[in-house]
Symmetry: C2
């Protein structure tokens, strides 16, 4: 198991988080998603809800309200950085430290880019067909005023813009990842099997 | 084996053709690469060298010379189409017919797009790290006046432009394929194992 640090990037609704969690369980290694957010909260003092929303997505319309409500108290220690840049640096530091601590699965937050020169890292992208993602987000997160198709587009568009801004790369380009899997074509459990096999044989 | 038609798109030098050939052998199905070119030659009367070069790549500087030397005799039957459009339609027809004939592996030539609505098709992209591809093309195809790094860039840039022109999509975007594999990170034989397993379990 030479590949010890697995990063999982994913389209909204593709099941990437679920695949990452199952993979971490099979490999017996820690899984960082919400847990990573807690660490960034400790590092920055930012509210976890603010980090969850703004640490991975380009600002939406309510960004300013968030920024003042949640990030306001920290502005004095940000050395003139924007809230987004300050949060990026904090997330980057937490991810680099996690990779030093030992084997793990890290979901989202541009970890593929942050750990691109880490020889022990293996980078995964999970995508899925539109119908599959639409059905899945409504089943898991319920209906909202915004139709499922628009929710998918809004979230992934904001991930794409955030990724491009901080990494200079195109989000979802095959060459950024060691493997990309369409979970609706292959099946969620089969994706976990394939990843487990690759990591164990590495 | 519900997924019977496997299309393989690949970066130049990534070993995608070799992976496709081995996969076809393991599955006991026909492999279409040069063989597809022969069929397009039968269909169009174009020279095979011309089809090989211009059927998958945006025109390079010598395109006009090629076009007159090799495609010239056919211009009268092209119904006012450009040589490139005529070749695209002929390739498309050959690929759709191959998919109707039965299980097979088809390499390159935008087959992933042409067969995107075919439920029995499974679409693969193979990429690899730069150093791996450079070493591989020099070992397999020898040195040329153009440095290996430039040869890789030239060929893939022309594939990208050709793909964008005829499909409207971005070449090498994860969402176009059911799986994308980095052959230098995973290993050529391991890529074949993973694909064989997915297809046999489908």
């Amino acid at each position: 198991m030479a590949k010890k640090i697995i990063t999982i990037s994913r389209e909204f609704g593709s099941g990437g988080r679920s695949i990452g969690k199952k993979l971490a369980d099979r490999l017996g290694v820690p899984y960082y998603d919400k847990e990573l957010i807690n660490k960034v909260a400790d590092e920055t003092g930012f509210d976890e809800k603010f980090i969850e929303e703004e640490g991975e997505y380009a600002p939406n319309k309510s960004f300013l309200a968030y920024a003042f409500a949640y990030a306001g108290p920290q502005r004095g220690i940000m050395d003139g950085l924007s809230t987004a840049d300050y949060l990026w640096l904090a997330q980057r530091k937490v991810i680099l430290n996690l990779a030093k601590e030992g084997p793990c699965v890290i979901v989202g937050r541009c970890a593929d880019f942050i750990l691109k020169d880490e020889p022990d890292a293996f980078h995964v992208f999970i995508c899925a067909d539109e119908d599959y993602k639409e059905e899945r987000i409504v089943r898991l997160y319920g209906e909202t005023q915004m139709p499922a198709k628009e929710r998918l587009k809004d979230k992934d568009d904001r991930r794409r813009v955030n990724y491009k801004h901080f990494t200079g790369r195109e989000w979802g380009r095959c060459q950024n990842y060691d493997i990309s899997l369409n979970s609706s074509a292959i099946g969620e459990d089969a994706c976990v099997d394939i990843l487990e096999q690759i990591i164990k044989n590495s």
